[in-house]
């Protein structure tokens, strides 16, 4: 599956965080790489959305939508915002 950019999930991120997030800063908890959310690698398999670090490929964020609820895992991030 080919990666999209964080920009592609601007709407989803806005739903979850209540604001524009594509220009927010992020730091990978595994390798410390600092990037704007728009620059992260996004994979959208049928079940949800996986955001990975472009430097070390670690999973940074996972979003899964069930009915009208979005389950969010941000454990791969050291900081966001």
């Amino acid at each position: 599956m080919e990666a999209l950019d964080g920009n592609a999930i601007g709407g989803l991120l806005w739903e979850v965080f209540g604001t524009e997030m594509t220009d927010a800063a992020s730091v990978c908890a595994s390798c410390g790489a600092a990037r704007l959310v728009a620059e992260l690698a996004v994979y959208r398999p049928a079940l949800g959305t996986v955001v990975r670090c472009r430097s070390c490929d670690s999973v940074l964020m996972v979003f899964v939508k069930i009915h009208d609820r979005t389950c969010v895992d941000l454990l791969g991030l050291a900081t966001l915002g």
Binding site: A8, G11, W14, E20, T22
Partner: protein, 247 residues
């Protein structure tokens, strides 16, 4: 708050299609009348949501094709196996409703104060947000010089061709046609790679600002070539839209 969108909120709303423009055999521009539109920036996108009778929902993002201050428009390429695009290109008519939210995106945007020179690199329908940037530059009277490299399969697949054939002052439009070329074609006829970019891109010493939009493979190839030629990564903004769309 009638007439104004609440700042900071991103809510679904119903827009009305005001016009459908045929761009190519598979591409349409939908001009939209959006009642609560807070205004957009050049390069942003919006989300479209289709709901069928069973309640099945499909959402897709589309780049905004128009400049800030112009009526909202999106340009959609029909993907034969798509869930959303065939409806948008084949079924929708002026006067129909369409559910959307936006504008979205604070990264792949250009304002005159960001300067240039600008290097715009489009693969297939990746031209759409770059067209918004070009029109915004024109409308704001910016004199930032622009080079646009547009990679398309054939000349008939070039979107906005009439507009791009009459570029404004200090705008240079360069096509490369990767699949077939019309008789007598004197332009490029190969994939956008390091060798092609070496011929058409501003030298890195000019401190250009690059915007690359297209299928993932196009964006990766082009952005890597730019970095190798000395462009600082922070001066290259990319927008990948997956494997779909032709270059």
């Amino acid at each position: 708050m009638a007439g104004t969108a609440l700042r900071g909120r991103l809510t679904w709303q119903v827009a009305k299609v005001s016009a459908v423009t045929v761009e190519t055999a598979s591409v349409r521009t939908l001009t939209l009348d959006v009642p609560h539109w807070p205004g957009h920036r050049a390069g942003q996108h919006l989300d479209i949501r289709l709901t069928d009778e069973d309640g099945y929902v499909a959402e897709r993002s589309y780049s905004i094709a128009s400049a800030p201050g112009e009526p909202v428009a999106i340009t959609v390429e029909r993907l034969d196996d798509g869930e959303v695009s065939p409806y948008l290109t084949d079924e929708l008519r002026a006067g129909d409703d369409l559910e959307l939210r936006g504008p979205i995106g604070g990264y792949f945007v250009w304002e005159p104060e960001n300067g240039g020179p600008l290097l715009l690199l489009a693969g297939g329908s990746g031209i759409v947000p770059l067209r918004s940037i070009l029109r915004h530059r024109e409308r704001t009277g910016s004199t930032v010089p622009v080079r646009l490299l547009y990679s398309a399969r054939t000349l008939n697949d070039v979107i906005y061709r009439a507009e791009l054939d009459r570029p404004g002052s200090d705008v240079e439009v360069i096509y490369t046609l990767t699949r077939s070329q019309p008789p007598g074609w004197s332009g490029y006829a190969r994939r956008a790679d390091a060798a092609l970019l070496a011929e058409v891109a501003w030298p890195a010493a000019a401190m250009p600002l690059a915007y690359v939009c297209g299928p993932t493979s196009f964006v990766e190839a082009v952005s890597q070539a730019l970095v190798q030629s000395g462009y600082p990564p922070e001066r290259i903004k990319t927008e990948r839209f997956g494997a779909t769309g032709g270059t």
